[in-house]
């Protein structure tokens, strides 16, 4: 037996976008995180990772893009989760807006600084 399908006007607002983002970013994070864990922890091993390894890996633009995406997606996912939790503590609309914008600025800053560091790459010879 099938039920009647009805269509309504598709809605859009910040809450929907935020909810969708949590789901889409989680799906994107699955391959990003697992490939990262597989390579760094299993294949290479964390004890073999030093600045020379980082220099070599970040010499390849594909890995630079990968790491920037990993950072941005993971942090955005976490920041959005933090936004949800913060709503338990901030009840007024004004306070929630301030927190929302604060978290967006934090995300842009951390992702931006991280992206710059990745693009600049590692220079182990500077440490010697």
């Amino acid at each position: 037996m099938t039920t009647t399908v009805r269509k309504i006007k598709k809605q859009s607002n910040f809450e929907i976008t935020s909810w969708k983002w949590m789901r889409y970013s989680a799906v994107a994070l699955l391959p990003l995180v697992w490939i990262h864990v597989l390579i760094k922890d299993v294949i290479v091993g964390v004890h073999n990772i030093d600045t020379f390894y980082v220099r070599d890996i970040w010499a390849i633009w594909g890995w630079k893009v990968y790491d920037i995406l990993l950072l941005a997606f993971t942090f955005a996912h976490g920041v959005n989760g933090l936004r949800n939790v913060s709503m338990d503590f901030f009840h007024s609309e004004k306070a929630r807006k301030i927190v929302d914008w604060g978290l967006i600025v934090l995300w842009v800053l951390v992702s931006g600084i991280g992206a710059l560091a990745i693009i600049a790459g590692a220079r182990p010879e500077m440490l010697v």
Binding site: M1, T3, T4, R6, K7, K9, Q11, I16, F89
Partner: protein
């Protein structure tokens, strides 16, 4: 069997302005006695000032939802033998203001319920002028959510509701679901608009407390997810 019944007490009218617990030792309790029976015994033979809500005493009216050994249950459905303990603690449900002993102010709960328009909206005249027909499948679609008795066990077990009483809560969403998925109703879009709000359905964090607490075994979290899906996809099926 002997039972040690610890009950939350707060009664500003009788000068008990500080919340505290009273413990009553009840002898000769039958394992098949309900918690409501124990409360009645305390009220009749130990302390007549003990206050709690009860009405039908058969799990239908939803008056006597309370926290029994830390879990939201109906006092008239929870049996002593189900708790596997000789020590039982009874407290009011969380997140609503305590008025007296086990009685809480249900107004915020019913305000949320009313906000989703929990009634059939259809201004068309039925084809035969008498009744609006519906297929068996269409009726079954929302069968589960028709079972709600508005006891508030789900809403007051929800962590989001504990911290934010503006959150509409699972009971209101369940009752909205009952009409949103009813093909005879014409106000689904309006209800979904109400729930698509900062205090609406997207505040649900899928803790599943509501599903565990429901004395009617409604799949509350699933109903909430279906409402979310209808808002996001624009499809009610």
């Amino acid at each position: 069997m002997d039972i040690s019944l610890k009950v939350f007490r707060y009664n500003p009218e009788a000068g008990r302005t500080k919340p505290a617990y009273d413990t009553y030792l009840l002898n000769g309790v039958d394992p098949t006695d309900r918690i409501l029976d124990l409360l009645e015994e305390v009220k009749d033979y130990h302390d007549g000032t003990l206050s709690f809500r009860r009405s039908c005493a058969h799990g239908v009216c939803g008056s006597d939802a309370m926290r029994i050994n830390g879990v939201n249950r109906l006092a008239c459905k929870a049996l002593v033998q189900d708790l596997n303990s000789n020590s039982i603690t009874v407290e009011p449900i969380l997140g609503l203001k305590v008025i007296k002993d086990l009685i809480v102010d249900m107004k915020p709960f019913f305000d949320s319920y009313k906000s989703v328009m929990p009634f059939m909206i259809n201004d068309d005249i039925p084809e035969d002028g008498k009744e609006r027909l519906q297929s068996i499948a269409d009726r079954e679609r929302f069968d589960d959510t028709t079972k709600c008795i508005l006891c508030a066990a789900c809403t007051t077990s929800c962590p989001t509701f504990w911290s934010d009483d503006k959150y509409v809560g699972p009971a209101a969403i369940v009752n909205a679901h009952r009409f949103i998925f009813d093909t005879r109703d014409q106000a689904a879009e309006e209800r979904l608009n109400i729930l698509n709000d900062e205090s609406g359905v997207f505040r649900c964090r899928t803790a599943f407390n509501c599903t565990e607490a429901c004395p009617r075994e409604i799949h509350v979290t699933q109903a909430v997810a279906e409402v979310k899906q209808a808002i996001v996809s624009g499809v009610i099926k």
